[in-house]
Symmetry: D2
Subunit: 297 residues, 4 copies
């Protein structure tokens, strides 16, 4: 991360009035501090001399900082844009606290100042790479993910059958709705809804959590982040499955195809205002410790 | 149910050699007892003078008994064929015990004899009716189900948002992969994978179980079988959901559409050999009580 | 229930200043309406001519209405005092909404007026009877319960082994921390923490939920409320278990002893202010439907 | 580990005839290979010149190898005896495969030969230290554990209230039956029954899993194995809790007392025959992948 920050890219769904409002407040604030602002060339924002429109794909090379305004989905999108280039990200929530967008609107300007002056806590998060490989061995699609890679059944009333392999060793044969392979960061997203544990972000592991498994003892497994995970679709007629990375569809698999997931070379750096506390975030997001329990149960 | 049985319909995936083999043994056995056998006119079975080929839709009017050979999916299919006419069903499993197909292959002939002579236990099971209603109020599709009616997200990386209403009262707003509305019979099918309870089949209730809910306290609810349940898809762009009854796709819903589920007027009668024990079936299917536990945990 | 109410018993932990304060406001209010107030003879309340002190055990015969002030535990205690006599109960919460004490402090006087004038909704709840039977067949202890009967391991690092039987039929052999047998009313108490479903209060069932079972497929079962449930402690050296009814210890069991649970002849009548909505209570207690979900998961 | 092995200690419940039988076969086998055998001085084994009786506490200094015969509980007991001295352990199961005692009786002699000749796979497992500290700061009891440290409510119908702190940071306030702090090794023991994940043994983490928590979002957390965890009993009258390490009672806590858990300096080395496969063990213990699934669900 280079300081001071001279160029900042804004990412968000600007069609949402709350996001547009935050962007509207942010652009002159950045300009007044001598920071240039980039937005996507097709962003639905009013023209302004303080904003330069460029293709999103150059954010990685041009920006010193990315500010994602919206929910966690927006930050996940932004993270994939700049993962290769190591540009740090600051997440501004548009109203409700997110696991990744942990700056509240009222704290936006102060947090942005802290980010451009290098006063934020830097929080490095591991990424994974997902790769779809056809039965022929050909790579069909590839993507990185910060939260999770999800294999799910596609448009059918039936269960999906698949095998999991780790570092070339056979693990299990599953039947169910699919499987989530989550980073520590993604443990509080989809994997949590599948019965997976909360994983402190700095722990170097992956959570492999079956989705609605047919076998009740088919429980989430925590493995080292260096594990190479392979999911093989079992040969059955009419089998179709979909792979989704951080909420974006990567592609489809049919019987015989494979999904491969492993640690990515890249990582992303999240910026947090000083005093950031992960457990405080958990307590807030999960409604923990709400007042006196009634001890009759 | 009329005794003695004079006409029997066979239902199964006869392309499966094990199913064809069972059918091959069953047909002459029925003929020798003076029972006529019906099969679907497109069934991939060898021609035989002992078998009459008719459209499946007339099984309900013509047969005194339906024998389903295969897994539970085959019996669910057969049950919907004859639900309106009240024809009883006997389920022959092709190898592994099912919750519904509880006659093992080696007991097939003896159990069929018991069924045609009226010596089986009659086990009446409730059905539900699912109805897809467009925002305009128009009924788009309708079906009965013996196990469950499932609303699920369709081909997208995002969660589905929907509301549940019961007997016109608002219950909850959900975000997740969908929801299962199961009969007592279906409680051990998909709903169990969603964290629902096992419900003894004679209990007159429905289980309403969210699928991978975003909110961890969004737990399965057990309500009277007479409850009229409505699921309303929340208005959001690009929302698509699918409704599946007993594993068969009923149709799709978009934002504003509704799924209505209520007790059906019809019921189905399952036949079991004497000595049938539901808890024994549970123990077998769920691998309960396997040998000495190691008390260190 | 006899109207108009002439005698009302107050139950609560009056040593708690908030409970004493509510009682202090309630007594003159009742007196002004011509209703006599009974409290337990050992209640730590200031002497008052408006209050008659009697043994709690006569509340059932003397009172037309019981008002429980506190949490759900207080109402459970009061319910067992008067279950035999069918005196209705009104539950005033001392601050946080309870599943059973659903009148908020600020609504206390209006709700009490509604109760004494017969304008409340009457909500009949089933009770169960728990009976501890020694290996010799002797009944060691007996109690009714409105929420649940819990068998739990006692002061040991080891699991408890036990069998469940229903209506004289063997169900399963369990290893774990114990088992909860809950009414529909109690489904949202301890049983919910054990993975049991929420059961609408008017459903006539029991939930039988193992506590931290060793076998992951050992799931909660929902059975008709008329089921006679028996739990038999397996013969093992040093086995000790405890039975708790609605939070109160009933007694201990050793290897060979049995716990029997069945529907009680008695029931209790809870009074609710008009407009009471069970699903609203659930939404409030379980933090359901809190604002916009972030759809990235 | 020193090779070749010259002194071997046997640990087991020799009052169990199956354990005594295995020991009876093992002692002459070891003697024939020139290995001396130690047993506890109070072991109920027949006198033999091939066996030296010593206090168990000297096993650590005198033995080159410990052979635990029985279930996982026996190996846990043996591991604590020799943890300080780093003596490796071989676990012989007396009939059913264990997570830790993974040598089947029929393979005992071959596996023991492999162990004494240094041909076994060495599998190093982390331990934790549990410390009970009174409100005064005084250490009341201390122990290491290989599987887990459990804080549980003691003999009462009420929930336990406690706070968790990690590395001096406040995490959560819990109400429930207690909490399990498990190593990766112990993740498949009690923690699994509490909804915790399976953790591959080589992952350096702890699983902190609440037992039947009152709050449904109070989920298991995975933290680095280096985390210092503190559990503080909340001030409430009559609160009593018990701490159990690997199934053995360590002591009691009252309101204001603390349980501290952190990585131990010691570790234990488990020996496995060549070809040992953790996932194979999981598949066997958890009944995974049993034959064809019925795809109707």
């Amino acid at each position: 991360m280079s300081f001071p920050v001279r160029v900042c890219a804004l990412v968000g769904r600007f069609a949402d009035p709350r996001v547009a409002e935050s962007a509207g407040a942010l652009v002159p604030h950045l300009a007044a501090r001598g920071v240039r602002t980039l937005v996507a060339d097709d962003a639905p924002l009013e023209p302004s001399r303080q904003v330069e429109r460029v293709p999103e794909r150059v954010f990685g090379q041009r920006a010193d900082l990315v500010i994602a305004i919206g929910g966690d989905g927006t930050l996940l999108y932004a993270a994939r844009l700049v993962a290769r280039d190591g540009v740090p990200l600051l997440g501004i929530n548009r109203g409700r606290l997110g696991f990744l967008t942990d700056v509240m609107p009222q704290d936006m300007l102060a947090s942005v100042d802290a980010a451009i002056e290098g006063r934020c806590e830097q929080d490095r998060r591991a990424l994974v790479t997902a790769c779809l490989r056809a039965a022929s061995g050909k790579v069909e699609a590839e993507s990185v993910a910060l939260n999770d890679v999800v294999l799910q059944k596609l448009a059918t009333g039936r269960m999906l059958d698949f095998e999991t392999w780790m570092d070339e060793r056979y693990v299990n044969t599953h039947a169910g709705d699919g499987i989530v392979i989550a980073t520590a960061t993604g443990s509080t997203a989809y994997a949590l809804s599948c019965g997976g544990p909360i994983v402190e972000p700095r722990v170097g592991v992956l959570v492999v959590a079956p989705i609605c498994p047919h076998t009740l003892s088919d429980r989430p497994i925590v493995v080292p982040a260096t594990t190479r995970i392979e999911v093989r679709i079992t040969e059955r007629p009419d089998t179709r499955a979909q792979v989704v990375c951080d909420g974006a569809v990567l592609g489809e698999l049919v019987a015989g195809d494979r999904l491969e997931v492993k640690a990515a070379r890249e990582s992303v750096t999240l910026l947090h205002p000083a005093g950031h506390d992960y457990f405080n975030l958990l307590r807030s997001k999960l409604h923990w410790g709400r007042g006196g329990h009634d001890h009759s149960r």
